[in-house]
């Protein structure tokens, strides 16, 4: 077979061959494009479905939990463990109890037990004091300290009984913790309160709250009258 003949034969199959290659390329391109697009859409649908499931759970959890968040127990939890040093609140509570049990406060010391650092989240302050009164009243006072907010822990209580009266050296610690500053990421699932957490809220809901707390906003008062301002109605002779 000579060269001319081969060329002639190729020419005869050239057009069908070009058509085959063209059809093949179009099919391959369409297949790869559609496959890639379908896979991309499937991934997107899957991830959006998963996200919607998390969002939907989050919305229903938040709707269910709403009454618990707005309950008095939740407010008590915030007062039980405030975000700032609760010494003043504890002393105020102690003062009320001291009056209730007719006890005399003879010494009071405050001492910060933990140095605030970025790693620490629970800070502790020691409140040490002496009281005088009857043993029974001191004992009832100590027992009642377990029912007040902000929460206190009895570190030490030494009571000396001298017949009709008694003297006690008491050391309490109270706690505070800064509020969390970040919400969990939107794509993570959110869980409501567990039974154990609800039980804790229930147990502290009967605690005695202070008459004031850190959530109070300052009151507005009318400005005080300036005693040195010129007053039209002021009569110096009358004043004398």
């Amino acid at each position: 077979m000579d060269k001319k003949n081969i060329f002639s034969q190729f020419n005869q199959i050239r057009n069908p061959l070009l058509l085959l290659v063209g059809t093949f390329l179009i099919t391959a391109f369409a297949t790869f494009y559609l496959y890639g697009r379908i896979m991309f859409l499937r991934r997107e649908i899957k991830s959006t479905q998963d996200q919607n499931k998390i969002f939907s759970d989050r919305v229903s959890t938040l709707q269910i939990i709403r009454p618990d968040i707005e309950s008095n127990a939740a407010k008590t939890a915030l007062i039980s463990l405030p975000s700032q040093n609760p010494s003043l609140l504890v002393i105020s509570q102690m003062n009320t109890l001291l009056d209730e049990y007719s006890l005399n406060l003879t010494r009071l010391d405050l001492n910060l037990l933990t140095n605030p650092s970025p790693e620490e989240t629970l800070f502790e302050v020691s409140i040490s004091f002496n009281v005088d009164g009857s043993y029974q009243n001191i004992s009832d006072f100590i027992t009642k300290l377990g029912d007040i907010t902000p929460l206190v822990n009895l570190r030490q209580a030494d009571i000396s009984n001298t017949g009709e009266s008694a003297e006690a050296i008491i050391e309490l610690s109270s706690f505070w913790s800064p509020f969390p500053t970040q919400l969990p990421p939107l794509t993570t699932s959110l869980t409501g309160l567990t039974d154990e957490e609800k039980e804790i809220l229930k147990s502290i809901s009967n605690f005695i709250n202070p008459t004031f707390d850190e959530s109070l906003s300052p009151r507005r008062y009318d400005p005080r009258a300036n005693p040195f301002s010129p007053d039209d109605d002021f009569d110096p002779e009358e004043a004398l």
Partner: protein, 175 residues
């Protein structure tokens, strides 16, 4: 008579091999074209359906996002409450002293005649108190009562001494 002359080049005659190859190529082209006609519309429909589903899901996603944004104050409250409750649990778990004081007070309040409290000490999870008993009978009666009470995990009696003016002095440790 003029002779007819064909000036067009003569079509080369197809050999059997060329015809066979052409038929093969033609069949392959038809086959691929059929695949394309199946895959094309099917893939296009699938892409259309998936795109529509995705659009619906995205709309739902936006609605849920806006619901979550509306409930943000509740979410903040929940995060805050869970943080507080977790820490309150830690604090309540470390409050054994008040419970021990209550046990101590229970013993002291129920002291029988002939016994008197001298001093009490309470530190972390240990309660120690010293009592005075005017007679051995009062002391024995008290010890019998308290040892029969299974309300206490452990009771330790120590430093028992006798003074003719005060009577018996002893220390009791409650756990």
């Amino acid at each position: 008579m003029p002779e007819k002359i064909n000036l067009l080049p003569k079509e080369p005659k197809k050999t059997k091999e060329v015809e066979k190859t052409t038929r093969l190529i033609g069949n392959a082209t038809y086959f691929i074209a059929i695949i394309l006609t199946i895959i094309g519309p099917l893939g296009g429909l699938t892409v259309y359906k998936f795109t529509r589903d995705l659009t619906k899901l995205k709309v739902e996603n936006e609605t849920l996002r806006s619901s979550i944004a509306n409930l943000e104050s509740t979410e903040q409250g929940l995060v805050l409450l869970k943080d507080r409750v977790g820490k309150i649990q830690t604090i309540l778990g470390s409050r054994q002293s008040i419970e021990i004081h209550a046990k101590q007070a229970e013993i002291i309040e129920a002291l029988p005649d002939g016994l008197a409290l001298d001093q009490t000490e309470l530190k972390s999870d240990v309660s120690r108190f010293s009592l005075l008993a005017i007679s051995s009978k009062a002391l024995a009666g008290f010890l019998k009562d308290i040892s029969s009470n299974n309300h206490y995990v452990s009771l330790i009696l120590s430093d028992l001494s006798f003074n003719p003016y005060l009577g018996f002095t002893f220390n009791l440790q409650v756990f």
